[in-house]
């Protein structure tokens, strides 16, 4: 048996719905249809009152979830694409994220954002918005890179008492497979050493973990052992694990698929430079997508985002510094 990243997300929701009557899912086309990506396929049949088709009203979807969360429910909002959450931005960052702080009453909503680029998706169905939400106090932002994490972290997200922005990567939906779902797992707030090495560390998250692995494989053939840190949760950052890895390798490339100005990569470099300056044997390096909207055409898209090749070059440069 094998299970995909997408199925893991479906299974986590199934389990959450089964385990707690407080869980419900609200989103466009997620009912009988099972969602644009089929992340809720079959769930409406099992939980007809709690897997609910929404009108195309992202602001009100988020508002409704927040109201229910204040009452102690654990709503999940599926945005059809992360990109469309811009329309719910205000409710998420100003209503949900501030709620506990303002009122002492937690707001346990989970906002699922199908994120990231796939060929042909273009500027409005490809975005990575983790940095936008992470900037605001009161949010937790998760970016699972593996099938197992998609499952266990989504369950943690749903049962966490704060708003969780759950950035699931569309490129991994069908591509990524595992043998089975985990019964035990690393807590969501911990980063993971996905591969150990000693010449340099690549710090990354979500789909880029897999590009980094390819680059590391290739660099291995050249005699370099590259350590890979999968952040898993980009807010809060597991700074101990990050600094631990940099301490071992002395060199760090921070890699992300999102836009280059600001964001996770800059935040990690900033933290490491401030808190672990003397661990660095070379300037920290950064690799992101190009500073343009995400192109539709696969030829442009492949060039726009970091790939195993450009990662490898960046590491090679880093190793020479």
């Amino acid at each position: 048996m094998s299970i995909t990243y997408l199925e893991a997300i479906r299974n986590a929701q199934d389990k959450a719905l089964a385990d707690s009557p407080d869980v419900f899912i609200y989103g466009q086309d997620i009912g009988a249809f099972g969602g644009a990506f089929k992340a809720t396929k079959g769930l409406h049949d099992k939980y007809p009152d709690r897997v609910i088709d929404s009108p195309i009203s992202e602001d009100a979807m988020a508002g409704l979830a927040i109201g229910a969360a204040i009452e102690g429910m654990r709503p999940i909002i599926e945005m059809q694409f992360a990109d469309f959450s811009t329309v719910a931005f205000n409710q998420i960052v100003n209503q949900a994220a501030t709620h506990y702080w303002r009122t002492n009453i937690p707001c346990p909503v989970t906002i699922r954002l199908p994120s990231g680029g796939t060929p042909g998706s273009g500027p409005f169905h490809s975005q990575c918005m983790e940095a936008i939400y992470a900037h605001y106090p009161g949010t937790i932002v998760m970016t699972p890179a593996t099938v197992e994490d998609a499952y266990s972290m989504l369950l943690e997200a749903i049962f966490t008492d704060d708003p969780v922005i759950f950035c699931e990567h569309k490129y991994l939906y069908y591509h990524l497979k595992a043998d089975k779902l985990p019964t035990q797992s690393l807590p969501a707030e911990s980063a993971r050493i996905t591969r150990s090495g000693r010449h340099a560390t690549i710090i990354t998250y979500s789909a880029m973990v897999h590009e980094a692995l390819l680059a590391a494989d290739s660099l291995h053939d050249d005699g370099y052992e590259i350590e890979i840190v999968d952040l898993r949760c980009v807010k809060p950052l597991d700074i101990e694990t990050i600094l631990g890895s940099v301490a071992r390798t002395g060199r760090m490339l921070v890699l992300g698929e999102a836009f280059p100005w600001g964001g996770v990569t800059s935040e990690v470099i900033s933290r490491v430079s401030s808190e672990g300056f003397h661990l660095l044997d070379a300037p920290p390096a950064k690799l992101n997508a190009h500073d343009t909207p995400i192109p539709y055409h696969p030829e442009l898209w492949r060039y726009h985002r970091p790939t195993a090749n450009t990662i490898k070059s960046a590491v090679q440069k880093l190793l020479k510094d």
């Binding site: 009557p21 602001d59 009100a60 209503q95 501030t98």
Partner: protein, 344 residues
């Protein structure tokens, strides 16, 4: 003038008791807000002061018909009267304005942004229109849990807020979900300085209801009895499964947008029109005219309110402000997800 019989009947008529009850909260609200304005002018309040002068009837008429601990009530800027009628202790208003650490917002937010979600009063964010869908969510949760019974949710907005996308999405969604929601629009003719003519171009704001398939009612916001009756009807319909209800009240904001604003832009013509009537003075006159009370009993009420307000403000003013050094600076509830950033 709306009918006020001495008997509460199924036809939605309002009793003198209900009228007097609402009047009491109107008096308290006006007294409090007059006082807080003078405290503001004395420079003792940071941030703004936004009062509901002229809107007390509309505000109280809704909330006095709700049940604290059961219903949901989402007041907005000018709902001091409704807040009081819904059971918000006057001391909380005083504390929030005066920055006592004991206020429900603990100094984190101020003035009209106070709330108490566990009592059914969500704490508003400033972004206009954003609270309606939150109220829907609270009702939605209760229904999913089988705890909806005949409870109802009410959300208040102004004429200006009707131009936000949020209000549209929320009304449409509530209608689809057939939630027992009453949305009260206080059309006080202005949004800050902006008149209705630059806010919408429909003949009657209540016609928005048609576009959502919900029921709409106009009331005279200067007439307490009419407000009571309009909301009574809307609340009964909402509770009996008829879905969301829109109630639009017309009146004039008898103040500036905030106490910093002299509202010079309001034309004399509107001020002296029927819209400019003071709902509080009118309700008082009616009580006396109908013999439900007299000058003496009204004065007694007013004096009681003055005492209550002065006590609350005195008490709040004597309380400690929040102390940043002992304050809990955490935006997240979950300890394990708190950021480990070195203290800023």
């Amino acid at each position: 003038m709306a009918d006020v019989s001495t008997q509460n009947t199924d036809t939605g008529m309002i009793t003198p008791e209900a009228f007097k009850d609402a009047f009491r909260w109107m008096v308290l609200a006006r007294t409090f807000e007059d006082k807080i304005s003078s405290v503001y002018r004395a420079g003792k309040i940071v941030g703004g002061v936004y009062v509901g002068r002229g809107q007390e009837a509309f505000s109280a008429a809704l909330a006095v018909q709700l049940n604290r601990g059961k219903d949901v009530y989402a007041p907005l800027i000018r709902d001091m009267a409704g807040r009081a009628a819904f059971g918000e202790p006057i001391i909380d208003a005083a504390r929030t304005y005066l920055g006592s650490a004991k206020g429900s917002m603990r100094g984190r937010d101020g003035n009209i942004h106070r709330g108490s979600p566990r009592d059914g009063v969500p704490a508003m964010i400033s972004h206009l229109g954003a609270m309606i869908s939150v109220v829907s969510g609270m009702l939605f949760a209760r229904r999913l849990r089988g705890q909806l019974d005949d409870c109802v949710g009410a959300a208040c907005i102004g004429d200006g807020a009707t131009s936000t996308g949020s209000v549209h999405e929320a009304l449409n969604m509530a209608s689809i979900e057939k939630l027992p929601l009453v949305v009260a629009i206080a059309n006080n003719q202005f949004a800050y300085s902006t008149p209705n003519s630059r806010q919408f171009a429909c003949k009657d704001l209540v016609d928005r209801a048609i576009g959502y398939g919900i029921e709409g009612t106009n009331v005279d916001g200067t007439d307490l009895a009419d407000c009571l009756q309009g909301f009574h009807k809307a609340l009964s319909r909402a509770k009996s499964g008829k879905g969301p209800q829109l109630v639009v009240g017309k009146m004039l904001r008898l103040s500036g947008h905030g106490e910093h604003d002299d509202s010079h832009y309001i034309p004399e013509e509107i001020r002296s029109s029927g819209l400019g009537k003071d709902c509080l003075a009118m309700a008082r006159e009616r009580i006396i005219a109908e013999g439900w009370g007299n000058e003496g009993s009204c004065q007694e009420l007013e004096e009681k309110a003055t005492k209550e307000v002065e006590d609350a403000i005195l008490q709040a003013d004597g309380e400690d402000p929040p102390d940043p050094y002992t304050h809990d600076w955490n935006a997240c509830f979950s300890e394990r997800f708190r950021d480990t950033q070195p203290d800023q």
